[in-house]
Amino acid sequence: MAPERQDRWMELSDVIVDFRADGSRRPVKVADASSALVDAPFSSSRRLLAQLPQSEGVFDDGGVDGVLLRSHLELQRLAEEVQHGHRVSRLVRPFLDLIDGPKRVVDVGCGLGYLVRYFASTGSLGDDVEIIGFDFNQGLLRAASRLAEIEDLDCKFVVGDAFALDTPATVYLSSGVIHHFRGPDLPDFFARQHAAGAAACFHFDVAPTWLTPLGAWVFHRARMREPLARHDGVRSALRAHSDTDLLDAIASGAPGWVPLIFDATGRRLAVLNVMRPAIGMNPELVEPYKQSLGPLSRRLS
């Protein structure tokens, strides 16, 4: 991994799998994963790595998939508890309502596809919207598709890499994903979505406030059981991007979009500001969007 893409709060889920854009994966050596945890300040990270399923110094795909699946189920539980689906659709729906004809929403890094399946189940994004989950982890997407099938939901899952984006969309969104992208990857992430012709993107992630690491620690202890989920949950709060970094990354990566933040840090009680989106939007749609959003638009900046 290139040094500019590493940071001191690397998550285990970043280093234990290595996917190609077509969804195939390369075997990962435990020693390589361990050295990718650049000067990890806590030896607990390396201890957890050692406990993950492996044989002869290489992570075991099936075992690792099991750990990731259980972690994502716990992540879904957290999303359900904070009513994340509703939080996302109340901001995205007013945007989609501005656009005539068929629309497509792609959830980048959808994991188990909770949001995708929530939208399909509740219809909360409105009519005439195709809903697609996109992720490079094929194992998670298989589970997501089975879950959608069990509940007979109208949504699709596509394997791919956010940095080789080949699935066009009206709106790209994501949740809990962008803190994984560091250095030049962050503006590049937005650039590819803009280049793919999207009218807007809404990327939800943890807002870094003074309370976030403590809150994340308490919540992940209380709600998660998988050691990897607990570890990475706290890490993601520690490495979450600031509002300014996100706005700058949109401005430099996708200069054709107007960069916006909903619930910028410091505007409201930090404690309620759990996940806030960084938004990129075609300039001519910003004013109509504010109107369509109604009173919530006061929280955009």
């Binding site: 508890e81 904070v82 709600r223 059981r225 309620l272």
Partner: protein, 170 residues
């Protein structure tokens, strides 16, 4: 007697929450209300079993003159102070969770329900210690046993749901 009834009721509610928590995060469906209710019912049933076990221990202790009813009642009354205070806070958080306003619901989750689960083991053990403080060692042990049984309930249920998920990972 009212103390015992109140403690039993709190144990039932705590059992139902334990059942829900053991289930939560292991079923990926979007609509799963019946399964959640079933998990809470199972937790409450587990609490009934735990209460029967505890009643046998307490009655046995009294029959063998290890402690008296008055001692037990006094310890129970003190425990109730701790548990009822905690239950009141959780009830407020839970009420907020059903508010129509997303922001109020967030307050319930972020300030009360999550941290509540986090400190629950401390509250349960602390209540037992406070209840039995100044009593005989055998009563202290009985109170700690009761606390451990209530804490163990979630662990047992959690194993059950983990086994089910491992057997049928959908």
């Amino acid at each position: 007697m009212m103390t015992a009834v109140a403690l039993c009721l709190l144990a039932l509610v705590d059992g139902a929450f334990s059942g829900f928590r053991a289930f939560a995060g292991r079923d990926g469906r979007i609509e799963k209300r019946p399964a959640k209710i079933e998990a809470a019912r199972l937790g409450a049933m587990g609490a009934v079993a735990a209460l029967v076990l505890l009643a046998i221990v307490m009655l046995g202790g009294m029959a063998l003159d290890i402690f008296s009813f008055a001692e037990l009642e006094e310890a129970g009354r003190r425990m109730l102070v701790v548990y009822a205070t905690f239950a009141t806070a959780i009830t407020i958080g839970f009420a907020a969770y059903f508010s129509p306003a997303l922001e109020v619901r967030s307050v319930g989750t972020v300030l009360v329900l999550g941290p509540g689960t986090f400190i629950r083991p401390l509250v349960i053990l602390g209540g037992a210690l406070y209840g039995a403080a100044g009593s005989s060692t055998s009563l202290l042990l009985a109170a700690l046993f009761a606390a451990m049984v209530m804490l163990g309930l979630e662990t047992v249920l959690s194993r059950k749901y983990a086994r089910e998920l491992a057997a049928h990972p959908f």
